[in-house]
Subunit: 349 residues, 2 copies
């Protein structure tokens, strides 16, 4: 029997940040597909849509009217999943356990333009988006009843985005949610043993290997993690360890905005569509502790697998047993690395 | 401030089987939806489809020809994600860790009829499906290199089902995957402290409360777990603790088939469509240990939320932070309980 080859043979990889394993099946990308395909209508959107509740000057569900904003704009979600006024309490009855949860859910409009997503915006329009994230994290994180702040973006209908106007969300809450708390535990464990941040050491290894690096700039590296689950999953990692996005210098913010821009342009270029994903920031809790173990990062989970219309379904085995991927992380990284750095729509013009 | 009410206020519930919490936002079901909707074409399928690689007598991708089967039929997946002939080995380089994984992936056709799903089959056609699952678990579980067997079904295109012919899958493998291993750890922890099965105690509580019970028959209970994530998630739980499905008596198999049938009929009746889901069995590892802590059960994860065309998206916050649901498990259970027990298509006839 020939020796085990990580690029060809079925195997499991450890996610050092969660302690969980992912099933990789590199040989499986050849299977035929006669299941569901996604719509791929290239609908050209107007700059302003009068029926959009996120466009400047329009009325929202609760009757409020959006200001005539020029840059970014954030407001409290009219249908917050975790509202601030939740009465405190708990319900404990044998094996049934529940606890009230207080929080705040905000919507963050990236631009007054209804038709522009991050890869199509200018760099100097993206910097204010990040400034706003930082502002919100500072303000929300300082609240008495808030211990964690989740910044995220659902891009594209296929990712459950309920409004096409480019926007993200911020949910801030009392408790540290499941995913960041796994990352907290693992990073803390590593820090206690090695006295260094796990992602510092990881990044050093990745830069030497250079198999999963998509690109780097002054302060950030874009890479496909060794344990990536989604076909074209990626991570933006600051070179300097920082616990939270609120610690960035102005220069680092610019560098981050440039990396965010560059990665999403590559994504759009991959299948020449507005590339869908859920993305977000994992950072230290806002619990008044220092968290030297935390190295914040931004992750991108895009669902598409083979084309604009064939996605990876995380169902059946994946829901019940274990995340599973077909193409290797190395393949994903090389593919993204090779994508042009200019948005395909600009090339056509 | 009025007191905390689990039926109205945002809260977190503990999943006793995984140790993880789910965010429940009961007040949130009122938000408007202008995002992606699902197709709802009622395509009437033929009894036999010559282009289907699962129909009797047809040719498969690898050239094999299916027998003219009358009942159930299983075969090794032509595109196995975890093939048996994977060379053994590992890759360890600092923080990068991978291990080869051997396994077997099988496809299980439920019926020769291309057009029949479980809720539309007769009870005496469903019993053989379960007999086959048991057979496969016994045979695969006995193999030297197999330690866990995952039986599952992806029903409906929206659940990534790549072929409309009613079928399920069985993936058997060396390692215990992430989800069942969480359940193993929690059940073992409870058993060590209390000397009883956690799900025995849980079931006792649920039967007394009667808030989340959908129905029961001689040997099985259908309920919505207190910690359910999906809008209409459900669980079939045997009344007698058994570690694996291979321990069922013939009477229990009949009772299980009847419960499976009854639950899926209620599902189809909910929105009067063929109700999509991923379902599967969680049971003790096939590792030659006894596993007195394990109480096997079948779970159903259906994606639909409000209608045949509006699903719950587990994206953004859910992927990055924490599973979140809108309607309460109690609401889901009452709704399913109230559904007729005769399939809507038969009522129309
Ligand atoms: O094996 P199938 O039916 O082609 O594929 C389906 O089920 C698998 C196991 O849940 C998933 O990995 C695939 O993403 C899904 O499309
Ligand atoms: O808040 P939205 O954009 O209406 O809703 C979207 O994002 C939320 C947070 O990830 C999810 O809970 C919803 O399922 C999704 O449709």
């Amino acid at each position: 029997m020939r020796p085990f080859d990580i690029h060809d043979d079925a195997h499991r990889r450890l996610n050092i940040l969660t302690g969980e394993w992912v099933q990789v099946s590199p040989h499986r990308s050849k299977r035929p597909w006669s299941g569901q395909t996604e719509k791929n209508e290239i609908i050209s959107k107007p700059e302003y849509d009068e029926s959009c509740y996120l466009c400047p000057g329009n009325k929202r569900a609760n009757g409020d009217v959006n200001p005539q904003y020029n840059g970014t704009f954030s407001f409290s979600n009219d249908f917050a999943a975790i509202p601030p006024d939740t009465p405190k309490g708990q319900f404990i009855d044998g094996l049934l356990q529940a606890k009230s949860e207080q929080g705040t859910c905000k919507v963050v409009c990236f631009s007054p333009r209804h038709d522009l997503t991050v890869p199509e915006m200018e760099l100097d329009q993206i910097i204010p988006v990040i400034d706003l994230w930082i502002d919100e994290c500072e303000t929300l994180g300082a609240l008495e009843h808030i211990n964690y702040v989740q910044v995220f973006e659902n891009k594209g209908e296929i990712m459950g985005c309920s409004n096409a106007h480019p926007h993200g969300q911020i949910w801030a809450q009392e408790t540290i949610p499941v995913e960041p708390s796994k990352k907290q535990e693992r990073q803390l464990g590593y820090f206690k043993i090695h006295g260094r941040s796990m992602l510092d050491d990881y990044l050093e290894q990745e830069l030497v290997k250079d198999e999963r690096i998509i690109f780097e700039n002054d302060h950030f590296v874009a890479l496909v993690p060794f344990w990536a689950v989604w076909p074209y999953e990626a991570m933006l990692l600051p070179k300097r360890r920082m616990s939270r996005i609120t610690e960035m210098s102005h220069e680092e913010i610019e560098s981050f905005a440039a990396a965010y821009h560059r990665l999403t342009i590559k994504y759009d270029n991959l299948f020449e569509i507005s590339f869908p994903y859920s993305a977000g920031i994992h950072q230290a809790p806002f619990d008044n502790e220092i968290h030297e173990e935390w190295h914040w990062h931004m992750v991108f989970y895009p669902p598409l697998l083979r084309s604009a219309t064939v996605k990876k379904f995380m169902v059946g085995y994946e829901m019940l047993a274990n995340p599973q991927r077909d193409i290797t992380p190395e393949f994903g990284a090389q593919k993204l690395k090779s994508m042009p750095e200019v948005h395909y729509k600009r090339l056509v013009e």
